[in-house]
Structures are given as structure tokens and as C-alpha cells.
């Protein structure tokens, strides 16, 4: 494939990504249907069976129950464009079928952590049933929440030799799942600021720029509560991971001021990308990988991790409670931790892989295929220690805290 073709494809992927991730999932059939189905299911007498004991954050992993024999099938839910799947074809999926003899039903069904939780996990698990899935991919804070609720199956690390051998030490023992008892990372990225050099007229370096009245009406913020609160807290000089409710109240005030001064254009989900690309936003909170793509198409776009700091997030593989094919699910997890497989996925996905050795492998591949150079060398895909130094994770929230934060955040974005 010639070089321009490769870029073209990457841009098309980016376009599809921003269409598919939220807009389409949320507003077309699935979103609306799920709305109805969720309500209906909720109606069918899910009167809060406490099906699983709640675990307090940081509790030791329980010893997992023994694995059943292989079933020969596995159902995987992932985000769109998170694997080399194009026109229904995927080399990775084919290889898995060949290597293990397991039929894989791979669906790009996750458009939003909260929505997937509400439509695909909550009702089923609370009703004491299995969900549709053997593998889900959820962001770190949602993994934390699911562990607190006791809604994930513990992992059998003894059948995950690739994970033991290849999990990069950087990703070992994460804050949301100490000891990786219930999850292993799939890909990681950073929330920072994306901006259009032409529209801002100057380089953007700090969160304070998002609060500058000079850019009134051209600033995008996220409707994702944790990301936006983290930014407000960083601006105030607070460590987001230890924020108190009083800090959040102050942060809400700061954000309200920003909103009422007319600086914020709107609070966006994944749809911020087309507003940034279309020149409606001069600067906006942004996810590293997205801007990476958009910049291929429009060199005026840039991504920066602000001086005050950015947010570091990780998406993780996990097995929901009562999954029907846990043994096959483990086979999939171990498979994607093979260096060669992970390299194939990362060359397509352009987010940081937690599998050690992938970057070197891509650098080698780039010798032969120059179109891989951006992903082989990018600081955004492979953040340097200096960049990581500046990033923060999210605070671990108890369910009660999360509700209290939402009570403050929702009126802000839905005024």
C-alpha cells in the first residue's frame, strides 16, 4: 500500500471513529432501542437483589473459582476502531480462531462507559443473570466501580502466561485494580488540550487558556465528569486524586464561572472532534489519539499536555460476573498479550499498548513501511517519562461520592 493511501485510510478511520463512537451508537437504533429495553428490563422487577458482596476499594482479590472446560466460543464487546477490523475482516480475529479453535463474536458495541454499564451490565447482573459478554473493555474508573460492586470475575493469572511475561511494568498494579486481580490493560491515552493554531493565534500551553475570555465561545469542555473535574482541580493547583467534596464544590464554581462568562461553547462527548476539525472550536479538552489522527488531515491542529497536568487513562479487558465462557475469555486475553498480535493491533489503533516490546517491533516494521513512522515515534502514542510525570489519574470514588459529584456536575452541563 502506497504512503498516501495509508494516510487516507487513517483519516477515514478517524472520520468513522468520530461518527461511530458516540453519535451513531447513542442516537440511532441502538441508543434509542436500549433506552426502551433498559426501561422495560428495569420494569421487570429488578428490585435490587444484592447479588454479589460489595468489595471495599483495595480489598484483596478473592481466590477465583476453578475454570470450566473450553466452550469453543467467546463474546467480546469493545469500542469501535479498537482493533484491525475493516469491512468485517480482521487479521487478528482470524488468527485467534486459527490458533485456538475458538469462535469469536466480536462486536464494537461500547460507545460510552456509563451507557454500556446501564444497558449491557446493570440490569442483567442485578437480576442475577449472565450478561451477553465474556469480555468487556472499560476505562479505569469504570473498572474500579465494577470491582466495588463485585461485578467482575477474578482473573486466573496462571492461564495467562503472555500477560505475566509481557505486561509492561508501567502498567503493573494499577490504582484501580491493585495486582490486576480483575482486569488487564488494553490500551492507554491522555486527556489534554487539542487546539487549532490558526484560530488561537498562539501556542496553547496551559489549562488556564481554556478559561481565557479571549476565546469566548470557542472553547470545548467534556461532558465526561471525571475528565472535566480533573482539569478544574489541576487549574486550582489541587491533586485530583485526593480531591474532597469541598474541592469539588469549588471546582464546580470555577467551571460555572467559565460557563457563565460565555467561554464554553458546549460540553462535548466524542463529537468534539468534528467541531475541532471543522474550525468551530479554537481549543478544547481532547483525547491524545483523536488529535493525532485529525492532525494528519489538518496540520494546524495540535495536542498538548497542559503545564498544570493532564489525565492519564487506561482501557482494560475484564470478564463480567457470571460470564458464560470464562475459559475462552482467558484465551482471548492471553492472545492479545502476544507481542506480535499486540503490534498488529497497535499499528492499526494508534493508542499506547501495555504490551512490552510493541514499540520496538513497530519501529522495526517502520523501517520497511515508512507510513508507520508516526505511530512508531509519536510522543502521544508513547508518552515520555516527562509527559507521564505531568499526568494524573482519576480519584477513586465510592458509589456515594460518585452520586454526590454527579449532583454537582449535572446541573453545570445541563443548565
Amino acid at each position: 500500500m502506497s504512503e498516501p493511501d495509508r494516510y487516507q485510510r487513517a483519516v477515514q478511520r478517524a472520520l468513522r471513529r468520530r461518527m461511530s463512537r458516540r453519535d451513531l451508537l447513542r442516537y440511532t437504533g441502538r441508543g434509542v432501542g436500549a433506552f426502551g429495553a433498559g426501561a422495560l428490563l428495569a420494569a421487570c422487577g429488578v428490585e435490587g437483589q444484592d447479588t454479589a458482596p460489595r468489595r471495599s476499594p483495595g480489598a484483596a482479590s478473592p481466590s477465583p473459582s476453578p475454570l470450566p472446560p473450553k466452550a469453543g466460543v467467546v463474546n467480546v464487546a469493545n469500542w469501535p476502531l479498537y482493533i484491525d477490523l475493516e469491512d468485517g475482516q480482521s487479521a487478528t480475529l482470524d488468527k485467534f480462531k486459527q490458533a485456538t479453535g475458538i469462535d469469536i463474536n466480536y462486536k464494537e458495541d461500547i460507545g460510552d462507559n456509563d451507557e454500556f454499564f446501564g444497558t449491557d451490565l446493570q440490569q442483567q447482573i442485578q437480576a442475577g443473570q449472565a450478561t451477553e459478554w465474556d469480555i468487556i473493555v472499560m476505562t479505569d474508573w469504570m473498572i474500579d466501580k465494577l470491582i466495588q460492586l463485585g461485578w467482575l470475575e477474578p482473573l486466573h493469572h496462571d492461564v495467562l502466561p503472555n500477560v505475566t511475561a509481557n505486561l509492561d511494568a508501567k502498567f503493573n498494579d494499577p490504582w484501580y485494580d491493585p495486582g490486576n486481580g480483575f482486569s488487564v490493560p488494553y490500551a492507554a491515552g491522555i486527556t489534554g488540550i487539542g487546539y487549532n493554531k490558526k484560530l488561537t493565534g498562539r501556542p496553547i500551553t496551559s489549562i488556564a487558556d481554556l478559561f481565557d475570555t479571549e476565546f469566548a465561545g470557542q472553547v470545548g469542555m467534556f461532558s465526561e465528569m471525571r475528565d472535566t473535574y480533573n482539569f478544574a482541580l489541576l487549574l486550582m493547583g489541587k491533586d485530583p486524586t485526593t480531591a474532597t467534596l469541598a474541592d469539588i464544590e469549588a471546582a464546580t464554581e470555577t467551571l460555572r464561572q467559565q460557563r457563565d462568562d460565555g467561554i464554553v461553547r458546549a460540553y462535548y462527548g466524542n463529537d468534539y472532534t468534528d467541531q475541532l476539525a471543522g474550525g468551530n472550536l479554537a481549543l478544547t479538552m481532547a483525547w491524545s489519539g483523536d488529535v493525532n489522527y485529525l492532525a494528519l488531515d489538518n496540520p494546524d491542529l495540535a495536542f498538548v499536555v497542559p503545564d498544570e497536568g493532564g489525565n492519564r487513562w487506561t482501557d482494560n479487558l475484564a470478564i463480567p460476573l457470571r460470564a458464560e465462557h470464562p475459559t475462552d475469555a482467558h484465551a482471548w486475553i492471553d492472545f492479545v498479550y502476544d507481542v506480535e498480535v499486540a503490534t498488529g493491533i497497535t499499528e492499526w489503533v494508534w493508542y499506547e499498548s501495555p504490551v512490552a516490546g510493541v514499540q520496538q517491533q513497530i519501529q522495526e516494521d517502520a523501517q520497511e513501511d515508512p507510513s508507520l513512522e508516526p505511530v512508531a515515534e509519536s510522543d502521544l502514542v508513547w508518552p515520555t517519562p516527562e509527559i507521564l510525570e505531568k499526568t494524573h489519574s482519576y480519584k477513586r470514588l465510592s458509589l456515594e461520592e460518585e452520586e454526590a459529584w454527579h449532583e454537582l456536575f449535572d446541573p453545570l452541563i445541563q443548565g
Binding site: D50, D114, E400
Partner: protein
């Protein structure tokens, strides 16, 4: 003799029951997919609890008062938007329907087809494409800005105007089609009669055409107002914080916060508000066809 009587009686019974059998599929559908979920939603609205503890039916009527005070802004905004959009659709739709019905001639069907044409594309896609049309530097605003007719920082996206325009566009056919139906069957000889009695054209319109088209106005207004008040897609895609409608609140309560009781309670308040509004409207307009 008696055989014939019995047979006729049986035939009569069959005939009088037939309409009810015809109703059966519709009623079953309505029962399973509307009445039953509505009853369930009602009970959910009276539950209390959280994700951690589960939700339990405690007949907690308090939720209704709580959400009413919490979301009164968005509720009022939705009703206001509903009224504005219905008014705008009427202003645009009436002349449109009138023209097609009265002057359409042999183009009538083609013109009607054009009114329905947008339905061939998904509602969401159409609303998304408004984002491109209204973009700050898009083909519309960009051109006006380049011509110096608009200040550079002028924008329509993420403002109430964009949301109201999007809603008006989306729901115009719901207004235009019933209006067309009632104008089309208007007996033109009545207008001639009015002319014979020295009514001016304006007077003939006000005294004859308008009153006779009121059923269309009524039906069109309902078909527009009700879905507009509950809409959340236009506000989500074209609006910002200050255009949040009650549908957006319900969506977020249900899907992001998993707070089903509050979401259900808001839905019922909305349903009740619309029902009362419609009844008052029916009484005021009092068209016989609809109120009997």
C-alpha cells in the same frame, strides 16, 4: 321459520363483534408495548434506592416534588420551545399546504412528495448534517462572514436559534401534511358563495377557509408540539448547556446516572403536563371532529 331467525341473529352477532376483532391486534400491541411499560415505569418512579443497594418500591411520592423543583427550568424551556416551534411550523406550513392544495394542480403529488422526502433519510443523520450547514465557517455563515455581513465571532451552533431551527425543520412535515389534508377537501363552491355575497378574498379566507381548516391546524399542532417537547436529539447535537431540554435530562438520569426513579418521575410529569395542555387546547379550539 325459527331456523332463519336464529341464523340471522347469529349473523348479526358476528357482524357486531367483527369490529372488535379488528381492534385486537392494535390493542394487544398497545397493551404490551405501551400500557404495560407505562404501569411499570409508574412503579419505578415510586422506588427509592441506589445502584449499590438496589431500588425498592417505597411509594416515595417525594421524588415528584423533588424533580419538579430540580428541573423546572428545563421543563419550562421544553414547553416554551414546543410552543415556539409549533407556531413557526404553523406559519411556514400553512402557506405551504395552502399552495399545494389550492394551486398545486398537476404538481400536487410531486410537491407532496418533496414534503415527505426528508423522511427517506434518518432523522439523526439529518440533524447531524445541520451541524455542517451551520458551522461557524461553513458554507452559509462562512460566506456571510466573508462578505462582511456578519461579525467574525457570530455563530449559530450551540445557541437556542440552532436548536429551534433544527426542531422546526424536523417537524414541519408533521404540521404540513394534516393541514394539506384539511385544505384539500375544502369545498371550493363555498368560496364562490362567499364571493357572491360580496365577501372580500381576505374575508372569505377568514370566514370560510380558516375555520374549515381548523381540524388540520389542531391535528398538526398536536403532532408537532408533543414530539418537540420530548425531543432531545436537536438539543444534544445543535445546542449547548442553555438549551438543555427535559428529554436530555431524562436521558442522562436514566443512562448516565442510572437513577431510574427520577427519570421515570420526570417522564410522568412531562406526560401529565402535555396531557393537560392538550385538553385545554382541545377545549379552546373545540373542533368537533376531535372532541366529539
Amino acid at each position: 321459520m325459527s331456523d332463519i331467525v336464529a341464523e340471522r341473529r347469529a349473523a348479526l352477532t358476528r357482524r357486531s363483534l367483527a369490529p372488535y376483532f379488528l381492534l385486537l391486534p392494535g390493542l394487544t400491541w398497545l397493551g404490551v408495548f405501551y400500557v404495560w411499560p407505562t404501569i411499570q415505569m409508574f412503579f419505578i418512579s415510586l422506588q427509592e434506592g441506589s445502584l449499590a443497594t438496589g431500588y425498592h418500591l417505597t411509594w416515595h411520592w417525594q421524588t415528584y416534588g423533588d424533580v419538579f423543583t430540580k428541573y423546572d427550568t428545563q421543563l419550562l424551556r421544553s414547553v416554551t420551545y414546543g410552543l415556539i416551534v409549533t407556531g413557526a411550523c404553523l406559519l411556514i406550513g400553512y402557506p405551504l399546504a395552502y399552495f399545494i392544495a389550492v394551486r398545486g394542480g398537476r404538481w400536487k403529488n410531486a410537491l407532496l412528495f418533496m414534503v415527505i422526502l426528508p423522511f427517506f433519510v434518518s432523522y439523526v443523520i439529518r440533524t447531524l448534517s445541520w451541524k455542517f450547514v451551520l458551522a461557524d465557517q461553513g458554507m452559509f455563515l462562512g460566506a456571510l462572514k466573508n462578505a462582511g455581513l456578519l461579525p467574525d465571532d457570530f455563530r449559530l451552533l450551540a445557541t437556542p436559534i440552532a436548536v429551534l431551527s433544527g426542531l422546526t425543520y424536523s417537524f414541519l412535515p408533521f404540521m404540513a401534511l394534516p393541514l394539506y389534508a384539511s385544505l384539500e377537501k375544502l369545498d371550493r363552491s363555498l368560496l364562490e358563495a362567499a364571493g357572491d355575497l360580496y365577501a372580500s378574498r381576505r374575508k372569505a379566507f377568514l370566514k370560510v377557509t380558516l375555520p374549515l381548516s381548523l381540524p388540520g391546524v389542531f391535528a398538526g399542532s398536536l403532532l408537532t408540539f408533543i414530539p418537540v417537547v420530548g425531543d432531545f436529539i436537536n438539543a444534544q447535537l445543535l445546542g449547548s448547556t442553555n438549551t438543555t431540554m427535559i428529554g436530555n435530562v431524562i436521558q442522562r438520569r436514566m443512562l448516565v446516572n442510572n437513577d431510574y426513579p427520577e427519570g421515570a418521575a420526570i417522564s410522568f410529569i412531562l406526560m401529565l403536563a402535555i396531557l393537560i395542555g392538550v385538553l385545554v387546547y382541545a377545549r379552546l379550539l373545540g373542533t368537533e371532529e376531535l372532541t366529539g
